[in-house]
């Protein structure tokens, strides 16, 4: 071993072509390069012993300069470790780390087989997802079967699939981050992500949250057929062109809103917007979420949540429904949670409020990258005062891509100095 870096070692079972996280550290940049070079040399000689090398380089090490790489084979690691064109994550832990804002996406973020690569691979995520689905009884089994199926019976965008699965994946990924030792300074959820945030903040128990969610999803099936439209305009600009049966579902940013409503009204709105040159497109929503159409579903949610124990948040919780911190009074009012599904998501104002409070290291824990791309467009992120990254990628090509992106986030967090329990990270295997 080199004298410049310290490495520990363990041996674990064969993991096939699974992505692995390798880490190293050194006192300064020059010795970091030499550690990396020796890892590269070792890796290029290892032949099919990639897992053995990965095991040896998996342990936390000391040093002012940190490096990490995610790879699933020796040749891939060798390429990433190239000194001239590095595909590795390098960092120098700063004395002051920006607080973490945990962002949980909502309905609309779902896609076919989202996050399946971590299920039955990460014990924390697996337990969390099973916990949610087991609480749904027989329907939970059907949700799981459809989620994992190449050809599901119900589309991932069906309310009884999208709502529980986005909730479950958000909750599971947040649990993974917590298990790594990340302590968010604030939780922010969009749509069902806000309910997941409420569970994480101790406001509502998981069984009560799932009961409410299922009641809402079930009742939405009886609502008139509807959907949502993403509109490339601000709320004020788009307002004159909306059909009267279409309303604002989400204010995502200065140049993007989502409107929702029943199908016919949405089509009329689409035509009016196009006629004045405003771009719009249907989004993956098979219900008129966040509109008056959802009120009967919210009534059902209210019936499910009434009388249940609700507590003030034990963690700072920013509501995208009110664009304000959730007060103790709001948190303990079942109507506050039950009727969110009929009120617009005020993401633009919520992000303004969040970033007015200082710089944040935002992590989106949930499917896709839609929320991350909206956050990335905020001026606070564009100017570098805050940053954002995601635990999952927008378009995983295969299940290992899910594991790779989760590990890549662990790599970034560790390299920039966040306390990350690497033993926990390596449980993703």
């Amino acid at each position: 071993m080199t004298s410049h870096g310290q490495v520990g070692g363990t041996v674990s079972a064969e993991r096939g072509s699974m992505s692995r996280l390798l880490v190293w550290a050194a006192p300064d940049e020059v010795s970091e390069r030499s550690v990396r070079l020796s890892l590269r040399r070792w890796m290029s000689r290892c032949g099919d012993g990639f897992d053995r090398v990965a095991d040896t380089w998996s342990q936390p090490v000391q040093g002012a300069v940190r490096g990490a790489v995610v790879a699933s084979s020796g040749p891939e690691a060798v390429q990433a470790l190239d000194l001239e064109r590095p595909g590795v994550v390098l960092g120098r832990p700063a004395p002051e780390l920006a607080p973490v804002a945990l962002l949980l996406p909502g309905e609309g973020a779902q896609h076919h087989r989202m996050a399946v690569g971590i299920y039955r691979h990460d014990p924390v995520a697996t337990e969390a997802i099973d916990e949610v689905l087991d609480l749904m009884g027989a329907e939970g089994d059907r949700v799981r079967a459809d989620w994992l199926a190449e050809a599901p019976l119900l589309s991932p965008h069906h309310p009884m699939r999208a709502l529980p699965m986005v909730f479950a994946v958000d909750y599971a990924l947040a649990k993974v981050l917590l298990a790594w030792g990340i302590r968010p300074g604030v939780l922010v959820g969009q749509g069902v992500g806000e309910l997941a945030a409420a569970v994480l903040a101790g406001v509502v128990s998981l069984p009560d949250a799932v009961d409410m969610l299922v009641a809402v999803a079930f009742e939405l099936l009886a609502a008139p057929a509807g959907g949502a439209l993403a509109v490339a305009a601000g709320a004020a600009e788009a307002a004159p062109h909306l059909d009267r049966e279409v309303s604002l579902a989400a204010d995502n940013g200065p140049g993007q809103i989502i409107v929702s409503g029943v199908d016919g009204a949405l089509r009329r709105t689409e035509q009016s917007l196009r006629a004045v040159g405003i771009s719009c497109m249907r989004v993956r929503a098979e219900a008129a979420y966040r509109s008056n159409v959802a009120v009967p579903a919210c009534d059902a949610g209210m019936d499910a949540l009434r009388g249940k124990l609700l507590r003030p948040p034990t963690w700072p919780l920013l509501s995208t429904t009110t664009a304000a911190p959730v007060s103790a009074e709001e948190a303990t009012d079942p109507a506050f949670w039950a009727y969110q599904a009929s009120r617009p998501v005020r993401l633009r104002e919520t992000l303004n409020l969040l970033f007015a409070g200082g710089g944040y290291r935002c992590i989106t824990a949930g499917p896709g990258q839609g929320l991350a791309s909206l956050v990335r467009r905020h001026v606070a992120v564009a100017t570098g005062a805050s940053s954002v990254s995601s635990l999952l990628c927008a378009r995983p090509r295969n299940a290992d891509d899910d594991r790779r992106t989760v590990l890549a986030e662990a790599a970034r967090l560790w390299a920039s100095g966040y306390p990350v329990d690497l033993e926990q990270v390596h449980r993703l295997a």
Binding site: A230, P254, G255, Q256, S279, M281, S373, R377, V381, A382
Partner: protein
Amino acid sequence: MSPVSLSDLVSILAECGSADAAVPLTDDVLDEPFYDLGYDSLLLLQAAELVLQRHGVDVPEEVLDLAETPRMLLELVDRCGRGALV
């Protein structure tokens, strides 16, 4: 129909992202995924509509969906312009 150059496409994308603070597209980000640059499918649709308006090149939504990076988008716009993709 007029050919769409890289600089045409970059300025169209910048125009679409101008309401927000989307990452400016410089040479070194042409192979970055659009999501990492703050561009989502709605911004790309806006860009495709401007490409059609100004250059007469029609990039259908399902083709647009294949463009993961600015360079891939340029390639797809070029193919659509040459009628190589319908």
